[in-house]
């Protein structure tokens, strides 16, 4: 399913999707890693 969608998308669309995903979701992961375990 995912492969068939990816095959129909131009490379620029896939690249933009990946970069956006990495910045947004990767950014959250980095922030959570940085966050120290302490009370608010």
């Amino acid at each position: 399913m995912l492969t068939s969608i990816l095959l129909k998308l131009p490379a620029s669309a896939i690249a933009l999707g990946i970069v956006t995903g990495v910045i947004l979701y990767g950014g959250i992961v980095v922030c959570l890693v940085i966050a120290k375990k302490r009370e608010p």
């Binding site: 399913m1 995912l2 068939s4 969608i5 129909k8 998308l9 131009p10 620029s12 669309a13 896939i14 933009l16 999707g17 970069v19 956006t20 995903g21 910045i23 947004l24 979701y25 950014g27 959250i28 922030c31 959570l32 940085i34 966050a35 120290k36 302490r38 009370e39 608010p40």
Partner: protein, 493 residues
């Protein structure tokens, strides 16, 4: 009065994310993305997030935490006669929650309709004629819809219950109202992208038109989308940050909340575009025709396009209908109660008022003001208030916040404070964003909107209606804010 605090850091982050993530993430972002260059729009969107969205989020959280007070009292602390800006912010938020309650009421009703797919094969006719009983006359404001009124009462009851004991109650409620719409959204993404024809919709979502990046309107749209979707400019983040203990982080929390909000928008795009691609496939029309129609955005998407599509899903239709409207309801409720909480916190801080009395007073006034939106002409009035509060109210508050902090209070003072508390520091780039980039973009946005409204009324609506629900409120809110500032409160006694 004893100071309220969040039960945990997770509670605060969830509450702030819940406030930021609203219906716009699902029903506005994908459409704006399609309209302004498809995948290419993601580039100005990310630039706007880091140059305006996150800096403003840090500003609001920083000022709320430093002053340990809601927006009016916090701005009073930034300098002489600045309190009115806080009242203006919560005033804009209050106007928004009056019609947000009505949209929640529509969701409550549609949740009920989902069990027997009441809209049948004509979702458009059902929504406008049967459900809203929409009139063509703006003056048709005496015929109230009992169903919408009942839904409104349920919505306000839920809102008041959610903020019953302030941060303590909100801190628990958000453990349900934040993950639940995410789960629903993931279900819709999986279903959306697996439907026949979905790939055509997603191709339109992500395929970039780099030529669009040369158009200044695209950049402006990206900045306004980021700004409107983050819940800054209502005083909510100021009030929420004021409930954080003294040693709490600011910068990292602001990044987490902002990224989670935009990540939700990005994810929502896959659900919406996949589903609209399927819709085009089923109805035998071009995807561009569906995406360019009124049914691809806002109320049309939620109450016409999606119900139509859900109706074609066979045995699973009821399940997806229920999940969809639970998602909308839970997306809306934490944004709604955060707006009410910002208003309530303002009155409690200034007048040392009892929380329950303030909650009920705000709820009753909000409910009464919203009754006009439950009438046969309510749709038009709601549309005008929504447009003016977003285009003028929020943008003006954001602009003034940048000016007050950037040119009167001092960005360095606030930056030094947040850096002293945070897990990582912000540099001078933040000062530049607050003093120049964000206010310039917001000023242009307001100026362009004024120009547009001079030449034509919003949606071609009658000028008198536009003035009554638009300009009059935009003018009245600062006046009320100044009167509240001049009133005698606990701190000015």
């Amino acid at each position: 009065m004893e100071k309220e605090y969040w039960p945990s850091r997770v509670s605060f982050i969830f509450a702030a994310i819940g406030s930021a993530i609203g219906l716009g993430n699902v029903w506005r972002f994908p459409y704006i993305c399609y309209k302004y260059g498809g995948g290419a729009f993601l580039i100005p969107f990310l630039v706007a997030l880091f140059t305006a969205g996150i800096p403003l989020m840090i500003l609001e959280m920083g000022i709320g935490h430093k002053m340990s007070a809601s927006a009016p009292t916090a701005f009073a602390g930034t300098g002489r006669r600045k309190e009115w800006l806080g009242w203006l912010a919560v005033g804009v938020g209050f106007m928004i929650v009056t019609y947000y309650g009505v949209i929640m009421s529509w969701c409550v009703n549609y949740l009920g309709f989902s069990f027997n797919l009441s809209w049948g094969t004509d979702a458009q006719g059902f929504f406008h004629n049967e459900f809203l009983n929409r009139s063509t006359n703006f003056k048709d404001v005496f015929c109230i819809s009992p169903k919408i009124l009942l839904g409104l009462a349920i919505s306000w009851t839920l809102i008041i219950l959610c903020i019953w004991k302030g941060a303590k109650t909100v801190g628990k409620v958000v453990y349900l109202t934040v993950p639940l719409p995410w789960i629903c959204l993931v279900i819709f993404v999986i279903r959306g992208v697996s439907l026949p024809g979905a790939e055509a919709g997603i191709a339109y979502y992500l395929t970039p038109n780099f030529e669009a990046l040369k158009d200044s309107a695209v950049w402006l749209a990206a900045y306004t989308q980021v700004f409107f979707s983050l819940s800054v400019g209502f005083g909510v983040m100021i009030a929420y940050a004021s409930f954080l203990p003294r040693r709490s982080d600011i910068v990292n929390n602001a990044f987490i909340v902002s990224l989670a909000n935009c990540g939700t928008s990005f994810l929502g795009g896959f659900a919406v575009f996949g589903t609209l691609g399927y819709y085009a496939n089923q109805t035998g029309v071009e995807v561009t025709e569906v995406l360019g129609s009124a049914q691809a955005v806002g109320f049309g998407l939620a109450f016409i396009a999606y119900p139509s599509i859900i109706g074609t899903l066979g045995k699973a239709a009821v399940f997806f209908g229920v999940v969809f409207f639970i998602m909308l309801l839970t997306l809306a409720i934490d944004s709604a109660f955060s707006l009410v909480e910002a208003v309530a916190a303002g009155f409690m801080d200034k007048y040392n008022a009892n929380r329950l009395k303030v909650n009920f007073s705000v709820g009753i006034v909000g409910f009464i003001l919203a009754i006009i939106f439950t009438t046969r002409a309510g749709y038009y009035w709601l549309d005008i208030v929504d447009h003016f509060m977003n285009s003028f109210g929020l943008a003006i508050v954001g602009l003034l916040e940048c000016i007050v902090i950037g040119y009167f209070y001092g960005t360095k003072v606030l930056r030094d404070y947040v850096n002293s508390k945070s897990e990582f520091a912000i540099g001078r780039w933040w000062d530049v964003m607050i003093m120049f980039v964000t206010p310039i973009v917001l000023a242009i946005s307001v100026a362009l909107e004024i120009k547009e409204r001079i030449f034509a009324s919003y949606e071609g609506y009658p000028r008198w209606a536009e003035f009554t629900a638009g300009w009059a409120i935009v003018i009245a809110l600062p006046v009320i804010a100044i009167l509240l500032m001049r009133s005698k409160g606990r701190s000015t006694a």
